[in-house]
Each structure stands twice: as structure tokens, then as C-alpha cells.
């Protein structure tokens, strides 16, 4: 019903012509969305529009009824509709074409319906015919407005394109209507559509005696008057097309056109033009190819140079011609420049030594040859027979005899000559040919002999080729990446031949893998060579997976994966640990089986390193452990959705982490730094976060068992009384600390569905440890109160009640238990009634996280917590004792914890229960309280801290909320800015508050109150232009000053002198960006009066 109410409102808005177009669009979108979500059906809409349908006001009727419906259909193009609905709608619009007032709506509606594609509810041919007929008979195109004319032409175009049969039935009528429509058209965009319509018509009625032919002279007359087209280049017109674009476009078009000719005219008619075309293709290729060949990582799987549109079209044309007629290849083969290539190649050994012209020759010829080879099996055979063998000779690569030996084994001194140009050409040819291997199902149908020829050539040379590429890689040194690049790319090309008929045998394939793997394992630093080899291996891995090459997959597993995984496992290896991890994770992510293997390897590596550390105190091992965990979090977890089965392996990994910790009972050594614990926590959190509920339960169960076996449960027995809590220190053993942190992480990551065995003792454990100063325990508490279902009451009881109920005789106040109110022990510690300062600050932090958990799920108890925190911000508590400054600061920061989004816990990734608008709710509760406290604050410190807290709340709430309350908030924000600018400690808070202010300045909603407060705003901003602690604050303040110029002139003019003075000082700012802003701002402010400077 609510939807309907809104609907009426939106309808009103749309029909009202006095409203702005944006307003119309908005209401339109609103209705369309509800239709799309099927909240509303079309029929319902029509019923609701009843009033507008029957009204006598023409304008309203036209807008309300027809245009609205039509626009609606335009939005709903992708939504399936009932055929009957479509049918009736078409009928409706067709009828309305005759009524001139509603013609736009009718046209839009028809167009939207006709354009529907591929979804349920298409317009039938009969209906389309009716539309065309009605249009031809009743719409006078040339008497309509510009936009409507365009709609007409588009409708014609669509009809002709989508319902050709129906239009043929109409015959003469259609042609006649088109003639009439075009006659006298002046607008270029309309004409463009119109020309296309004529083209479609001509295609539809090709017969020489058909309707188009009979009207041809008329049509020609209408159209010819637009020719010749003039290309007028107007200066400074942004929409105009520059000369270069035009010439490029024409080149592309002519190449495309030639390709169409080749397709349509057939071989015999094209033949006499071959020479001309060939030279044109050559010219285009030479002109569009650059000489920069990239030897970078990213070009390993691409051609390595930039390809323009002309280039692409030229290549397409060449390929088409060769595919169609093998004799075209004769021209290519006889071309003098192609023939010369071998001389060019053998003249230089290094690419960078080549002259630019030679580089160009090499690149273009290898393009020409590889494109021709790619065209068909025959052409590939020819190219390989003519060129490849010769190329091999030039490079000194020898073939093997039938017995498998190399031809001149005895004379091994004849070495291969690694000409870069030749290698490039060779690689291009190999890459081109690999696409010609048919996939296995086509295999049988292709005659064997046809595809054997080039295959056998490659096969003859494969051993030496692989050797040549290998030696290229190995001979490379660091300062020349070309050798390594060409070598690796060559090996990659050799390794990517598909299927059983591959010219590269399995043993050769394995040799390629071994070579690449050895490059990875042999390097001790991250060189270009190393990265190239890794990328090549990853490419091959994904290629194997893509084409289901089971044999090759086995080789890959045996050679690459196992090798790398065993490196991960062994602690002694020349390769730095992070590099092994990177290589392994990259390579293994290509196939689920490898991933499984890798995670297994990781598990073993983790366990052995961890125990090595525990027993021998080897800090290197624990460092390896942290790196391994980081690799899991950063490399594997983000790809969880891509890799099947990864989740299962990771859950297993997490459980074996717990196992390992459980079995390492004695930790002889302390962790060196917190990296390991942090990494382990992060990994645990994220694995639990992504795992299914069952897996989460099993991890938590495991973790719980480990906890019970540790000394931690002893903490649960610590009564939550002041006396017991007072002496708490961070006194856990290293192992317990690790277990506690990991368990907290698991709890943080768990979903609300996961089950916890003993909520009460868990809560107690976390309470005590958070009071001992473990933040993760506090976060875990927050997560628990956020996610617990039925256990929530019990949990809250444990947190808030039991403490005071357990006989707290120091409390003189009546212990009537308000829920989480200031009477509980926790609140009292926060307020500093008892305990040390440390205990107090920890309690405040803990309370903030608990509050956040409750706040996000919309629990009422958060109000009490907010109340306690606010109490902490007062300078004295209710019994008159002064609060320590540090406690005040923690209380103020608690508001940041409450309001900001945390990366670590209580977010969507970790399944937090998030009620919508929870920030807004908290904002509306706390802001009035804080405001009134600021007014009555007793000490400057308390005032500052109240402002900090308020700034946290204000700057984290969505900006629209601020805009709705600008009038009330602006004075507080300004006061906050001036209070916070005193101390450098609050610079970040100040900056976020300033950003809120700048948001209100630019928005239309805030304009009025900004204008009212202009003097105070300017005063405050002027002060901030010299804020010494943070550059962005100065910069933003100056930008805000410039923005203020949008206010009415009379409001700001009086402050001109003051602002200019401040900004002139900022010209001398130590930071360039501030100076630049100051110049802009100064120019702007100077120009509001006379040009003369006021000094």
C-alpha cells in the first residue's frame, strides 16, 4: 500500500509540467524501480493512473498517460513482460499515434516496445505492421518538433531492422512514408538516421522492379540534395572532429570496406586488384607500426607493440584475403621487402643495435608472415615451408634426423646465432601456428596430411629450438632484458601447443618446464628473468587447465608444483622465502589440484617452522611463518571465489594451525616482535570469515579445546569484582597470549549462525583479558554481543549485572541494577571509582567495543553505555573526584570506535549484524547531550574532550544528516574547529571536522545557514589558513574560503580585506600546494571588487 501512496505522489510530480526536468526524471526512476522489482505490475499502474487517463486536460493526459507509460517501458526493456500486456500496449500506442498531442509519448512507447530484445514479451510481426501502417498514415513527420522527428526516424529504423518481413508486406506504403518523412529534413543527427533508413530500405527491396526501384528517382532527389558533404572545420568547437581523426577514420573505413569487398565479390573478381591491395596493406602496416618493441613483463602474452585501429583493420584484411585465396600468399612471398628480411636479421645480433628502419622491417614482416600463417592451415604450411626453414638456417638451428639425433652432433662448435630479430620472427610464427591446432573433436574430420606439414617442420626443429631459447635465457644478464624476454617468450610459445598432435613431444614439454622452474629456483634476487619465467609458467598452467590437458597437467604437477612446494617446505634454500611463496602461490592458483597440494605444503611448512622456533628458538623460522601467513591472507584469500576447493583447504590449514599450537606445549622463546601474532590473527580471522558455518563451528570447537587445555580457563574463575580485578596485569605467557589472540580472532570472524558452547565463561574470559589490556579480547566481546542470538541476554547479564551482584561491599550506592547503567562494576571502573588508571582506560576501551557491537545491532543497552561514556567526559565524576586526563581522552576516542567503520572486526566481511541507520540513531541520541554538556563544561580539558567526541560523531555520520541539521550544527562545528586547533594532538580530528564543514558549504541545503553564519565561518577559516600542524587543513581552509564566494555578494564583501590579508600570508606558505590554492583564492577574492589590489 505504501508503494501505491508513493506512486500517486510520483505521478503527480511527473504530470506537473511546472516542475524541473530533473524532478521528472527522479519520479520516473522511482516508479520504474518499483515496477522492475515487481512491487507494482503494469496493470496496477494503469489502474492507478485512471484519473489522468480520463481527465479532460489535454496536457495532463498526454504527459500522464502516454509519455509516462512510454518512458516506463523504456526503462523496463530488460524486464520480461507478459505477451498479452505487450500486445495491448502496442495496440494502445498505435492508436495514439494519430492524436498529435500525445504523439511523443506514443512514439517513445512504440520505440521502447519494438526495441525489446531477447526477453519474454516481444512485439509480434502483425503488431509491428500495424505500427508502421498507423505511422505512415497518420504521422506528418516534417510537421513535428526536432526531437519527435528523430524519434520517428529511429522508429522507422527499428521497424526495418527488426521486422523486415512485416515491412516487405507493406511494400509501397513504407517507401512512400519514408520519402515523405525525409523530404525537407535539415537536422544533421536526424539525417544520419534517415540515411540509414534509406539504406535499410534498399536492402529490403532489392528487386529492380520493386517499390524502391519505382520510387528511386524521388528518393535520389531527396537525398542527393545533401551531397556533396562539406567538411567544415570550425576553430574552437569542442565537438568538431580534428583533421587527424578524420583521416584515420577514413583509412579505417576504407580498409573495412575492402574487407567487405573481399567477402562479397569473391576470389575471381578481386584477383585483378591484388597488387594494389597488397601495396596498400603494406603501406598501412608500415605507417601504423612503431619501432618500440617492449621487452616488459606485460607483453609476454601480447604482441609487444601498440596496435592502432588502422593496424588492426589492415591485419584483418590481409588475413581475410589469404584465407580466401592462397594465391595471395604468392604476392607476400615474392615481395622484395619480405625477402630482404633475412639479410636484415643477420646484420644485427641485438635489437637495440638495429636502426629504426630495420626494426620497422622486422616488426612489420613478422606481423605479415604471422598473420598470413594464422589465416589457414594451407597458408601456414606454405609460410613454414618457405620461410621457417630458411629462418632456422639463418639462426643456425639444426633439425633432428629421423632417428631423433641432431644432424651434426659431431660438430658441436657450430653454435646457434641468437639474432634478436630472427628470434622475434620465429616466436611470432610459432605463436601464430599454435592456434591452428584443431581442438580434439575436430581432429578426426581434418585430413591428416593437410595439417601435418608445418607440424612436422616444427617437430624437426623442436629440440634445437628449445635449446636455442634456453641458451638465450641463460646467456642473458641483468642489464639486458631482451635476451631473457625472447628466450622465455620462445619457450612459452613452444609450450603452448595443444593436444595430441602437438609438434612438441612430452619430454620436450617437460624440458621447457624444467628450464623455467630452474630459472625460478636458481635466482636469489627478483630479476626480470625471474619474473618473466614465473609469468610464463603461470600462463602455461592456466593454458593446461583451460584445455584440460591431463597429460601435461601431470608433467606440470611433477616438475613445477612439487618442486616449488618442496622448496616452501624446506627451510634451507638460496631463494628468499617471500619469493618462493610468491612463485608458489602464483603457479599453483592455476588449477584446483595444485592449490590443494600447495596448501598442504604450506601446512607442513608452517608446522615445521613453528616447532623449529618453539624448540630451537630459530627466529628465522618464525619470520618464515609470518611471511607464509601473509601470503595466505594476501594472495590466496582474495582469490577464494576463483579457485574451487580453496575454502576447504584453508579451513584444514586453520585447524592444523591450532593443532600445531596445541602440540607445542613449551615455548622456550619469546616472539621477537608482534608480527607473527598479528599475521596469525589476521589469517585466522579471515579464514573463519570466509568459511561456511559448519567449518566455523569446527574451527571454534578446536580452538575451544586448545583453550581448555591451556592455563587460560583459570582466568574465568577470577571473579568480576573490584578486588580481584585491581591487580590484573598483562601477565599471560607467550603461548597463552597467542592462543587468546587467535581465539579472539576466530570469534571475530564467526558468523551469527556459528554456535558457541559456553557463552558465559567465554564472555568472562574475554572480559578479564580485555581488562588486562588485550584489545582483541575487547573486539571479540563486541563481536559476540553483536552476533549472539538467544545467548545475548545471558551475555549482557554477565557483562553488566553479575559484577555488581557478586557482593561488592565497597559500593555505597544502592545496587538497583539498571541495564548496563552507571551502577555496574564496569561503569564504576570506567568512572574511576576504583582501580588504577590503566584499569580505567582499558575498561573504557572495552566498553566502547561492547557498545559498538550493541549499537550496530540496534540494541537499547547502548544508550546506557553512551551515558557512561559521556559521564567519563565530564571532568569530575558523581562523587566529586577529578578524572584523569588520559581517561577523558580514552572516553573521547571511544566515540570514534563507536562511530567509525572498523577494518578489523564488526564489518560485513566478518558477518556483523548491522541495522540500517544505526549511525544516525546514535547521532541523534548523543549530539544533544554532548551539546548541552559543552555549554556547561567546567574545565577547558573537559570542554576540549567533549568537542573531540562530538567531532568524531559528526564526522562519521553520513553527510546528509549534517545537511538536514546545518542550522543547529554549524555553530558547534565552528566552535569545535577553534577549540581543536589549539593542540596538534587533535589534528586528524580537526581535519575530518573541517571536511564536514566544507561539505555543508557546497551544498544547497546548507546555504541559508552558511550565509547567516558567514562572519563566523570566515573568521574560523581565516584562522585555519595558518594552522601549523597539518598541511591539508590549511589547503582545505583556503579552498573553503574560495567556495564562500558563491554566497551573495553583500554577505561576503565586508570580509574581503580580512580574507585577502590571510590569503596573502598563505602565499608564503612552506608548502607548494597551499601556495597554489592561495593564488587561486586570492585571484578570486580580488576579482569580486575592482581589479586594483587593496594594498
Amino acid at each position: 500500500m505504501a508503494a501505491l501512496n508513493n506512486l500517486t505522489e510520483h505521478l503527480e510530480a511527473f504530470v506537473d509540467v511546472t516542475r524541473s526536468p530533473t524532478h521528472h526524471a527522479e519520479s520516473l526512476r522511482a516508479i520504474a524501480t518499483s515496477l522492475e522489482k515487481s512491487v507494482l505490475s503494469i496493470n496496477q499502474l494503469v489502474v492507478e493512473m485512471d484519473m489522468y487517463l480520463t481527465t479532460t486536460d489535454d496536457v495532463v493526459r498526454a504527459r500522464g498517460r502516454i509519455l509516462l507509460l512510454a518512458e516506463m517501458l523504456d526503462y523496463l526493456k530488460p524486464k520480461p513482460l507478459d505477451n498479452a500486456v505487450v500486445n495491448s500496449l502496442v495496440g494502445f500506442f498505435t492508436a495514439k499515434l494519430a492524436e498529435w498531442r500525445s504523439v511523443r509519448g506514443a512514439l517513445t512507447g512504440c520505440l521502447a516496445l519494438i526495441k525489446r530484445k531477447g526477453v519474454a514479451g516481444l512485439v509480434t510481426a502483425v503488431d509491428a505492421e500495424a505500427v508502421a501502417k498507423s505511422m505512415a498514415q497518420s504521422v506528418q513527420v516534417q510537421s513535428l518538433a526536432l526531437y519527435d522527428r528523430k524519434l520517428c526516424f529511429e522508429l522507422l529504423e527499428c521497424l526495418l531492422e527488426q521486422y523486415p518481413e512485416a515491412m516487405i508486406n507493406l511494400g509501397d506504403l513504407m517507401v512512400y512514408a519514408t520519402c515523405e518523412a525525409i523530404d525537407g529534413e535539415k537536422d544533421p543527427p536526424c539525417l544520419m538516421v534517415a540515411f540509414h533508413v534509406v539504406e535499410l530500405l534498399a536492402r529490403l527491396f532489392p528487386s529492380p522492379s520493386g517499390p524502391v526501384a519505382s520510387e528511386a528517382s524521388d528518393l535520389f532527389e531527396f537525398i542527393s540534395c545533401y551531397f556533396p558533404l562539406h567538411y567544415t572545420h570550425t576553430k574552437g568547437d569542442e565537438t568538431s572532429i580534428p583533421r587527424e581523426d578524420l583521416s584515420r577514420g577514413l583509412s579505417v573505413d576504407s580498409l573495412k570496406c575492402l574487407k567487405d569487398c573481399a567477402v562479397n565479390y569473391g576470389v575471381s573478381r578481386m584477383k585483378k586488384h591484388y597488387e594494389g591491395i597488397w601495396s596498400a596493406i603494406k603501406d598501412a602496416l608500415y605507417a601504423s607500426t612503431g619501432t618500440d618493441l617492449s621487452f616488459g613483463l606485460e607483453s609476454l602474452t601480447s604482441p609487444g607493440f601498440e596496435m592502432g585501429e588502422i593496424h588492426r583493420e589492415a591485419v584483418n584484411l590481409l588475413q581475410r584475403l589469404v584465407k580466401q585465396d592462397i594465391s595471395f600468399l604468392g604476392l607476400v612471398a615474392d615481395d622484395i621487402r619480405v625477402k630482404m628480411i633475412f639479410d636484415t636479421i643477420s646484420r644485427y645480433s641485438r635489437y637495440e643495435e638495429m636502426l629504426d628502419t630495420s626494426k620497422l622491417e622486422v616488426l612489420v614482416v613478422s606481423q605479415i608472415l604471422s598473420v598470413s600463417a594464422r589465416a589457414s592451415v594451407e597458408s601456414c604450411n606454405t609460410i613454414f615451408e618457405t620461410f621457417f626453414v630458411r629462418l632456422m638456417n639463418t639462426l643456425g638451428i639444426v633439425e633432428k634426423t629421423s632417428s631423433g639425433d641432431l644432424v651434426h652432433n659431431e660438430n658441436s662448435t657450430v653454435s646457434t646465432r641468437l639474432y634478436h630479430g630472427g628470434l622475434h620472427l620465429c616466436i611470432e610464427l610459432l605463436t601464430a601456428s599454435k592456434d591452428l591446432i584443431p581442438s580434439s573433436e575436430e581432429d578426426s574430420s581434418t585430413p591428416e596430411s593437410a595439417q601435418q606439414s608445418w607440424c612436422s617442420i616444427v617437430n624437426r626443429f623442436s629440440v634445437s629450438l628449445i635449446e636455442a631459447f634456453t641458451s638465450a635465457v641463460q646467456s642473458s644478464n641483468d642489464d639486458c632484458s631482451a635476451d631473457a624476454y625472447l628466450g622465455v617468450k620462445g619457450l612459452l610459445a613452444m609450450g603452448m601447443f595443444r593436444g595430441g598432435s602437438s609438434p612438441v613431444s612430452r619430454s620436450e614439454f617437460e624440458k621447457i618446464l624444467t628450464t623455467l622452474t630452474s630459472i625460478i629456483t636458481a635466482n636469489s634476487a627478483k630479476t626480470v628473468k625471474w619474473e618473466l619465467a614465473l609469468k610464463a609458467l603461470v600462463c602455461m598452467g592456466s593454458f593446461i587447465d583451460q584445455y584440460h590437458e591431463s597429460e601435461k597437467a601431470m608433467s606440470y604437477m611433477g616438475i613445477v608444483v612439487e618442486n616449488l612446494v618442496s622448496l616452501v617446505r624446506s627451510s634451507h634454500c638460496s631463494l628468499p622465502h617471500p619469493m618462493i611463496l610468491e612463485a608458489t602461490s602464483e603457479v599453483c592458483s592455476t588449477r584446483p589440484t595444485y592449490v590443494e597440494k600447495m596448501v598442504q605444503g604450506f601446512e607442513e611448512a608452517f608446522c615445521s617452522s613453528f616447532s623449529d622456533f618453539c624448540v630451537n628458538g630459530n627466529f628465522k623460522s618464525i619470520e618464515n611463518c609470518s611471511q607464509l601467513l601473509e601470503c595466505v591472507t594476501n594472495k590466496l584469500l582474495p582469490r577464494l571465489t576463483e579457485i574451487d576447493g580453496l575454502e576447504k583447504s584453508l579451513v584444514h590449514f586453520a585447524i592444523s594451525m591450532w593443532n600445531q599450537i596445541e602440540s607445542s606445549v613449551v615455548f622456550s622463546y619469546d616472539f621477537n616482535g608482534r608480527e607473527f601474532v598479528e599475521a596469525a590473527m589476521k589469517t585466522m580471522r579471515q579464514i573463519v570469515g570466509v568459511a561456511s558455518v559448519d567449518s566455523q563451528n569446527s574451527i571454534i570447537q578446536k580452538a575451544y579445546n586448545v583453550i581448555s587445555s591451556s592455563t587460560l580457563p583459570a582466568m574465568e574463575s577470577i571473579p568480576l569484582t573490584f578486588a580481584a580485578l585491581e591487580g590484573l596485569q598483562r601477565d599471560l605467557s607467550t603461548r597463552d597470549e597467542l592462543i587468546l589472540s587467535l581465539f579472539a580472532s576466530a570469534v571475530i570472524g564467526a558468523s551469527p549462525m556459528a554456535s558457541f558452547a559456553d557463552v558465559k565463561s567465554l564472555i568472562k574470559l574475554f572480559m578479564v583479558s580485555s581488562l588486562k589490556g588485550y584489545i582483541s579480547a575487547a573486539q571479540a566481546l563486541g563481536s559476540m554481543v553483536n552476533k549472539l542470538g538467544t545467548g545475548l541476554e545471558e551475555a549482557c547479564d554477565t557483562i553488566f549485572h553479575e559484577s555488581s551482584a557478586s557482593g561488592n561491599n565497597t559500593s555505597s550506592v544502592d545496587s538497583s541494577k539498571s541495564i548496563g547503567g552507571s551502577e555496574t562494576l564496569l561503569a564504576k571502573i570506567c568512572l574511576g571509582f576504583y582501580g588504577s588508571l590503566d584499569l580505567q582506560t582499558r575498561a573504557i576501551t572495552g566498553l566502547a567495543w561492547i557498545g559498538k557491537g550493541l549499537l550496530m545491532r540496534g540494541d537499547k543497552r547502548v544508550n546506557e553505555i553512551a551515558h557512561v561514556l559521556v559521564e567519563c567526559l565530564k571532568s569530575t565524576n558523581s562523587s566529586g573526584n577529578a578524572l584523569h586526563p588520559s581517561a577523558l581522552k580514552h572516553a573521547a576516542d571511544a566515540f570514534l570506535t563507536l562511530m567509525s567503520d572498523s577494518e578489523v572486526c564488526l564489518n560485513r566481511k566478518f558477518h556483523a549484524v548491522i541495522r540500517p541507520l544505526y549511525k544516525q540513531r546514535f547521532f541523534s541520541i548523543t549530539v544533544p547531550i554532548l551539546e548541552s554538556l559543552i555549554v556547561n563544561s567546567q574545565t577547558p580539558l573537559s570542554r576540549t574532550m567533549l568537542h573531540v567526541a562530538l567531532a568524531h560523531v559528526i564526522s562519521n555520520v553520513p553527510v546528509t544528516v549534517i545537511l538536514d541539521n546545518t542550522k543547529k550544527l554549524l555553530p558547534v562545528i565552528l566552535e569545535g574547529l577553534s577549540v581543536l586547533s589549539v593542540d596538534s594532538e587533535h589534528k586528524e580530528t580537526l581535519f575530518s571536522l573541517l571536511l564536514v564543514l566544507s561539505g555543508t558549504l557546497t551544498d544547497i541545503k546548507g546555504q541559508q545557514s552558511v550565509s547567516d553564519n558567514a562572519h563566523r565561518i570566515i573568521e574560523c577559516l581565516v584562522k585555519l589558513t595558518s594552522y601549523p600542524h597539518l598541511m591539508v587543513v590549511r589547503e582545505t581552509a583556503i579552498q573553503c574560503l574560495a567556495t564562500l564566494l558563491e554566497l551573495p555578494h553583500r554577505r561576503i564583501y565586508p570580509f574581503r580585506r580580512e580574507v585577502l590579508q590571510a590569503v596573502t600570508k598563505a602565499l608564503d606558505d612552506p608548502k607548494r600546494r597551499v601556495r597554489e590554492e592561495a593564488i587561486k583564492c586570492r585571484q578570486a577574492w580580488t576579482s569580486i571588487s575592482s581589479r586594483s589590489t587593496p594594498f
Binding site: M1031, T1064, L1067, K1071, R1072, R1073, R1075, I1079, Q1083, R1091
Partner: protein
């Protein structure tokens, strides 16, 4: 101005790469950015639609900055010896710097030695406070200068 352009066909050089602003440099780093010379290079030539940098009237080397003494010396090279525009270019430089620089800098503007037929008098005119102020009070000149220094680059 019946003679048409003074230098009808000037040589146009490429602009120097502008330092792109990177997003991350704005926090943390609190060093002192030195005052730089780019304020003036985008001033448009009074005659041609090119900037002074493109016409090689100014280059980075032709600007000397002494931060201790708060002095700036700009030496520019008019495109041709008899350039009547030399004084106007100088005036533009001065007006622009007045807008962009803190007040405590003393700016000296000269034509580079030997590049102008009337070198001494141009130098004298450009560094004479009274004459500069007087020139900028002339509405026609003021408009020309404003058009030249109003650039959209900064």
C-alpha cells in the same frame, strides 16, 4: 598596429612536462617546498596564442631565485631584437608575480643582454616603480596584461 605582427612566424617549442599531482604526497611529508618558477611560464605572449615558455622567451635557467635575500631576477629574451612587446612582456611578468608571490620578494626583471636593440631603456622602464604603477593604471594596458596573465594552467 597597422604593420601587422612584429614577428609573424615565431619558433614554437614544446612545453615542459607539468609535474603531475600525486594523491599520496599530501600527508606525512612535511619538508619545505622551494618556491618555484612555474607561475610565470604560462603567461601568454601578447602577440601569439602561445605561452612564454613555448616561445622560449623564458626558461627555467633564466630565473634566479635567492631565498635568503628574498630576491628574484628574471631575464627574458624577446623573440626579435626590435620587439615592442618587450615592455609589455615585462609588465605581465611583474603583474603576475605580484599576484602570486608573498610581499617580501624584490623582483628584478631584465631582458637578456644583447637580445634587444633598446636594452637599457627597456630595463630602466621595467624596474621603475612609478612607471609600472602608471602603466597598470592605464585601462587599455591593464586589460591586455590581464588577458595575458589569466591562464588556466595553475
Amino acid at each position: 598596429m597597422t604593420l601587422g605582427l612584429l614577428n609573424a612566424n615565431p619558433v614554437v617549442q614544446a612545453k615542459k612536462e607539468r609535474l603531475a599531482r600525486t594523491q599520496d604526497q599530501h600527508r606525512d611529508y612535511d619538508g619545505l617546498d622551494t618556491l618555484d618558477t612555474k607561475y610565470v611560464r604560462d603567461i601568454r605572449d601578447p602577440e601569439h596564442p602561445y605561452s612564454l615558455e613555448q616561445l622560449s622567451v623564458l626558461s627555467e635557467d633564466s630565473i634566479t631565485l635567492d631565498d635568503k635575500l628574498n630576491r628574484i631576477l628574471i631575464t627574458f629574451t624577446p623573440t626579435i631584437q626590435h620587439c615592442r612587446m618587450a615592455t609589455i612582456i615585462g609588465l605581465c611578468l611583474r603583474a603576475k608575480l605580484k599576484e602570486c608571490l608573498p610581499l617580501h620578494y624584490k623582483v628584478d626583471i631584465r631582458v637578456s643582454p644583447g637580445s634587444h636593440a633598446d636594452e637599457d631603456s627597456v630595463n630602466k622602464q621595467l624596474n621603475d616603480k612609478e612607471r609600472v604603477v602608471a602603466a597598470l593604471e592605464n585601462p587599455n594596458l591593464r586589460q591586455l596584461v590581464d588577458e595575458c596573465i589569466c591562464s588556466n594552467e595553475i
